[in-house]
Amino acid sequence: MSILVFLEHHGDEVQKGSLGVLGKAATLGDDVSAVLVGGGVRAVAPEAGKYGAKTVYVLEDDSLEPPTPQPRVDVLAKLVQDKGFDTVLFGNSVLAADVAAGLAARLDAGLNWDLVDLTSDFVGKRPALQDSVLVDVGWRSTPRLALFRAGSFDAGKAGGSDPAVEDVSVDLEEHSRGARVVSQEEESSSGPSIEDADVIVAGGRGLGAPENFTLAEELAKALGGAVGATRAVVDAGWYPYSAQIGQTGKVVSPKLYVALGISGAIQHKVGMQSSNVIVAINKDGNAPIFEFCDLGIVGDVHEIVPKLTELVKQRKGS
C-alpha cells in the first residue's frame, strides 16, 4: 500500500486541512508521500515530514502558483503512473475538489467524496442525505481516490523526521493551460473577530435583503455576540467575507449559534456544527438545518426576530 496526499499551501504555510489528512494517512500505513505544487514549495516541503510524509514531491514553479486545478491533475496523474500509488487522499477545498474529480476522470479511478473517516482496510465513512445516514463506501479498483470533508482531522504532528524531497516535472496538457488567474483579492480578516465570540447570530438568504441584516445585528447586540453570514449572502455582496462561516469561511464554535434564514448546507455546517447550542429559524420545515440544531423554529424571521430581540433586552435589563 502506498499513499499520496495532496498538500495545499498558501504563502509559506501548508494548509491545516491537508496536513490533517496527511496525519490520517500516516496512521494507515508507512509508505506515505505528499505532493506540493507552486512557487516556494521546496522551502515548505520539510514541514510535511512532521506529519508523517516519508517523501515529498515538489513541483517548484511560480507559474503554477495560481490555484487552478488542471495543471495539478497533470502532476498527480504522472506521479500515480510513475510511482504506482494505490491511494490518493485530498482534504476538501475549492481547489482540491476539482483536482480530485479531474484526476478520477483522467485515471478512470473511483473517487469517494465527503468522507469523514477511512479505515485501514479502506472503508470510507460518508454522512449522506443531509447527514441523516452514515454510509460505508469502498473502491473496486486502484488507485483509490478520497476527498475528505473539511475539518475531518486535526493536524497533529506525528513527530516524523525530515522527509526526502524530490523534484518532479511534467508536460502540461493543452487544456490544462487554458484557465488563467488574472487577479486575486486577498480578504483581510480584520474587523471584529467572530472566532472568539461566545454568541453568534448568523444570517442567510432568508433575511431577504441586505438591509435586513440589521435584524441579525440587533439581536447579536442584545445577546452580546457577533454577526456571521453564509456564502450565499457574502457572494451576493450583502455582508463582508470576514463574517462568513463555513468551508471557505471561518470555523466557529460559540456557546450559542442562532441561524436566521439559513438552509444549513453541508459547507455551512462544517463551519458551525461544534457550537454548543444551535437555534435555527427557517420558514421551510424541511430545511437541512433542522437536522442539526437543538431548537428549530419553523417560522418567519421577520416576525420572530424583532420580538426576540425585545424579549432578550428586557430580560438582560431586569
Partner: protein, 263 residues
C-alpha cells in the same frame, strides 16, 4: 456585464433529484428515485445564467440530463424557464453510475453538442458531490472554472469571479470552456404560464447509452469504481426540538435559552 455579440451555444447540465428528504433503499443501497422529483434547485441557477448570457441574441441554450424517464419533468421545467432544447440520456443500464461512469456518459452526450460553454450547478442536492464538472471537463479536455459568483462572456473567452478560502479570484478561460456556477450568481426566474405552454413544443430528444456511444460495461454498476457497502446511523446531536411558530416562538426561544443557562 457585457453580453457577447457573437451567438454561442450553451449546454447546461441539470439533474432531477428526489423532492424533500431523500431515502436510500436498503436493498439496492441506492438512492430511492421512485418518488416525486424536481429540478435540482442549484441547477436552476445554471439555467438562469445561460438565459441571461443568451439575452435576446441568437445564442442557443440546450439542457442536458442523465437520469430516469421522470427526469423529463425537470428538463421541461428548464424549457419552460426559456431553454431552447432538451436532451435526456435515459437507460436502465445507467442506474447507479458513480462519478467515473456519470462523467463518461455526460461527456459523450456533450460531445454531440460541441457547445461553446458547458454550465453546471453548484451541487446536486441529493449527492452534495460538487465535483462532477471537473471530471466532465477532463473528459472533454476543456478548461474548467468552478464556484462562479459572477460570469462575463467576451468574444472568445469568459471571465469568472469566484470565492476561495482566501478571498476572491478572477479567472479567465478561452472558449470552449466548462463553468460551474455558485447559487449566489443570480435569482432564478419562475416559468411563466406562456413558458410552460411553449415548453411542450420545444425539441426534446431522449437518448439511450448506445445512442451516445457508451458501452453498457462503462455505465451503471458495471462501469463504477466505487461502491456502497453498508448503511448506518450517524451520531445524533441528541434531543433536538422543532416547533411550528404559532405567534409565541420568540418567548419559546427565550425560555429555551434560559433553560440552557445562556440567558
Amino acid at each position: 456585464m457585457s453580453i457577447s455579440s457573437r451567438a454561442v451555444k450553451i449546454a447546461v447540465c441539470v439533474k432531477h433529484v428526489p423532492e424533500g428528504h431523500g431515502r436510500i433503499d436498503p436493498g439496492s443501497k441506492r438512492l430511492d428515485r421512485t418518488g416525486e422529483g424536481a429540478l435540482n434547485h442549484f441547477d436552476a441557477n445554471a439555467v438562469e445564467e445561460a438565459l441571461r448570457l443568451k439575452g435576446d441574441s441568437d445564442s442557443e441554450v440546450v439542457v442536458v440530463s442523465l437520469g430516469p424517464e421522470k427526469a423529463a419533468d425537470s428538463l421541461r421545467k428548464a424549457l419552460a424557464m426559456g431553454a431552447d432544447r432538451a436532451v435526456l440520456v435515459s437507460d436502465d443500464a445507467a442506474a447507479g453510475s458513480d462519478l467515473v461512469a456519470t462523467s463518461a456518459i455526460l461527456a459523450k452526450a456533450l460531445e454531440r453538442e460541441s457547445a461553446d460553454i458547458v454550465l453546471f450547478g453548484q451541487q446536486a442536492a441529493d449527492a452534495d458531490g460538487a465535483v462532477l464538472w471537473a471530471a466532465v471537463a477532463e473528459r472533454l479536455r476543456r478548461p474548467v472554472v468552478s464556484q462562479a459568483a459572477e460570469l462575463t462572456l467576451n468574444d472568445d473567452s469568459l471571465r469568472v469571479k469566484r470565492q476561495t478560502e482566501f478571498g476572491y479570484d478572477v479567472i479567465e478561460a478561452p472558449l470552449p470552456a466548462v463553468v460551474a456556477v455558485s447559487d449566489a450568481i443570480n435569482e432564478p426566474r419562475y416559468p411563466s404560464l406562456k413558458g410552460i405552454m411553449g415548453a411542450k413544443k420545444k425539441p426534446f430528444e431522449t437518448l439511450s447509452l448506445g445512442d451516445v456511444g457508451i458501452d453498457a460495461a462503462q455505465a451503471g454498476d458495471a462501469g463504477s469504481k466505487t461502491e456502497v457497502l453498508a448503511l448506518g446511523d450517524p451520531p445524533s446531536r441528541g434531543d433536538a426540538r422543532k416547533i411550528e411558530d404559532s405567534g409565541n416562538a420568540a418567548q419559546e426561544i427565550v425560555d429555551f435559552l434560559a433553560e440552557k443557562r445562556i440567558l
